[in-house]
């Protein structure tokens, strides 16, 4: 089965990249400050707990997943050279992303529960912990949903990266540059205009947009947010993006370089 071989190939490449990223981050956030403290003679001010307090470890994985998901043309080139079809590449990439999310999410939550919470007594270590954990009275059920919710967020992030990256690979480098320059400008203007109109409009609180947003976020006037509307929304978004990515993979071709 070629899918297994391609999955192994992609997984090996991307897990090595993930390992390298963690090594670099640990060096940048833990080792370098220690060395600077040592050199500057302020070693007494260096605190490992302080260095680990930030959520950079967990955020880094999400950024990594998004970033590697945007890059697929290099792998496409190698795979088409080796007689691998587009559907096999798509299936394998989805499996690899799933495996990486499983590993990264487990690592992230282990880090939160075993390092951040006991060591620095952090509470709001991620979106779920700051908004939804109070919905569950049983801590174990809360942990399970934390794992599920975080995994789904990583999945939607990775799929967003895949949509953006695979959409861009359909175009020449020149058109890609234009899209990359124009899109943020148009996006910023649109968001700024919409936000200013909304903020200026006192009636916004009463509009259906606000109510819909509250529904999606699971806002309850009684207190804790309900995570289920958000979970369902993320699942629907993921399915839609998965279909878009599959379509974009089927359109991949070698570019004339």
């Amino acid at each position: 089965m070629k899918t297994n071989k391609v999955t192994k190939f992609l997984f090996r490449k991307q897990i090595i990249g993930l390992g390298e990223m963690y090594v670099l981050l640990f060096a940048a956030f833990l080792v370098l400050p220690f060395i600077f403290s040592l050199i500057s003679g302020s070693l007494s001010d260096y605190s490992l707990a302080d260095q680990m307090r930030g959520t950079w470890v967990t955020a880094a994985f999400g950024i990594y997943m998004f970033a590697i998901s945007t890059v697929s043309y290099e792998n496409f080139k190698f795979l088409i050279q080796n007689g691998v079809s587009r559907p096999t590449f798509f299936n394998s990439q989805i499996i690899v992303n799933g495996l990486l999310i499983l590993i990264g999410n487990t690592f992230n939550l282990a880090y939160q529960y075993l390092v951040l919470m006991p060591l620095v007594h952090a509470k709001n270590t991620n979106i779920f912990m700051s908004s939804y954990v109070g919905y569950f009275h049983n801590p174990f059920v809360g942990f399970i949903f934390n794992y599920l919710f975080s995994g789904l967020l990583l999945m939607v992030g990775a799929l967003s990266g895949m949509v953006i990256g695979n959409f861009l690979t359909l175009f020449s480098k020149f058109i890609q540059r234009i899209i990359l320059i124009v899109t943020p400008i148009v996006g910023y203007i649109t968001v700024a205009y919409t936000a200013s109109r909304v903020i200026l409009d006192d009636r916004f609180q009463m509009t259906w947009v606000a109510n819909f947003a509250k529904f999606i976020l699971g806002y309850r006037s009684t207190g804790a947010y309900d995570p289920f509307p958000m979970i369902v929304t993320i699942v629907i978004m993921s399915v839609v993006m998965l279909l878009i990515v599959r379509y974009l993979f089927s359109k991949k071709q070698l570019k004339r370089e």
């Binding site: 391609v6 080796n82 007689g83 691998v84 079809s85 089927s250 070698l254 370089e257």
Partner: protein
């Protein structure tokens, strides 16, 4: 027995028609020469055959099965081309390992011998290879992977004369040890003329010749002699080109000669594939159109 069929393939880039209704059949264990001038559509055709690019129309089949998005059929072909699809940062050993894994085999014995003969440093990174060694590395992969169809697009690009000679002899050796189908796209016709069994000439996106080399050469006739006699003798034949040296004229005829009597002043011989190619491709540009009239 595997057969590669190309049916009604057309391809355009914007308003430019690169391939127009190409129909070809590549049979097992033959060496095809895909000849054409620069921009004739050779590389595009090979790209479409290996599903790297989509055709606007038509289909490519191996054993009656469409190759599009078909792992088992795509895995029967390897296209070596000047386009680099390997990552510059990858070590050659790793590329071989990954290619072996994806194709399900690799002839290490042959590869080791070729690496030694060509003097390739296998511990280098792909991006560090010179143009010549870049071609050599990809040729080694092409010869050592277990595929039924080896497609070589300008295989000797950047190779010096010694390496070119070595490559051709290794190609023949590899073919005789393990017969399979080779499609060699090149414009260095003289170099492949003695290797190929069939010749396909592409010109402006159309197939203008597709025949066994033996048949093609049997139809090539150069008629040399005094201008008047040569013109008289070749009247009504398919004259595709001519040369003049003083009063002596050489008319190049492609096709069967009839029973007409050869004058004593005129000599008949064959001319080579390269000359035929030049005349055929010039003719389609209008250079020697109506030569036979």
């Amino acid at each position: 027995m595997s057969i590669l069929e190309v049916s009604h393939i057309s391809k355009s880039f914007g308003s430019k028609h690169v391939l127009s209704d190409i129909n070809l059949t590549f049979e097992e264990n033959k060496i095809y020469g895909l000849l054409g001038r620069n921009g004739a559509g050779k590389s595009t055709l090979l790209s479409v055959i290996t599903d790297r690019n989509f055709a606007n129309n038509g289909e490519v089949k191996i054993d009656s099965e469409d190759v599009r998005d078909n792992d088992s059929k795509l895995g029967m072909m390897y296209l070596m081309s000047e386009v680099n699809l390997y990552s510059n940062g990858s070590k050659l050993t790793q590329i071989i390992k990954d290619s072996e894994s994806l194709y399900g085999g690799f002839n290490h014995e042959l590869a080791d011998r070729l690496i030694k003969e060509f003097g390739l440093d296998i511990n280098q990174k792909f991006g560090k290879l010179s143009t010549g060694y870049n071609s050599i590395f990809k040729l080694i992969l092409a010869l050592c992977l277990p595929v039924q169809f080896v497609l070589l697009d300008e295989p000797v690009l950047g190779l010096d004369a010694n390496h070119r000679e070595l490559f051709y002899s290794e190609l023949i050796q590899s073919y005789s040890d393990n017969p399979r189908t080779f499609i060699i796209s090149t414009h260095l016709i003289e170099e492949v003329a003695n290797i190929i069994s069939d010749v396909i000439v592409l010109d402006q996106g159309r197939v203008i010749l597709n025949q066994p080399v033996e048949d093609v050469l049997a139809k090539n006739h150069s008629v040399v002699g005094p201008e008047k006699d040569v013109k008289q003798y070749t009247k009504g034949l398919n004259v595709i080109g001519h040369d003049m040296i003083g009063n002596i004229r050489a008319n190049y005829v492609y096709g069967d000669l009839d029973d007409r009597v050869l004058p004593d002043t005129v000599q008949l011989s064959n001319f080579d594939l390269q000359k035929l190619f030049i005349f055929l491709t010039n003719q389609y540009e209008g250079g020697t159109d109506n030569e036979d009239k």
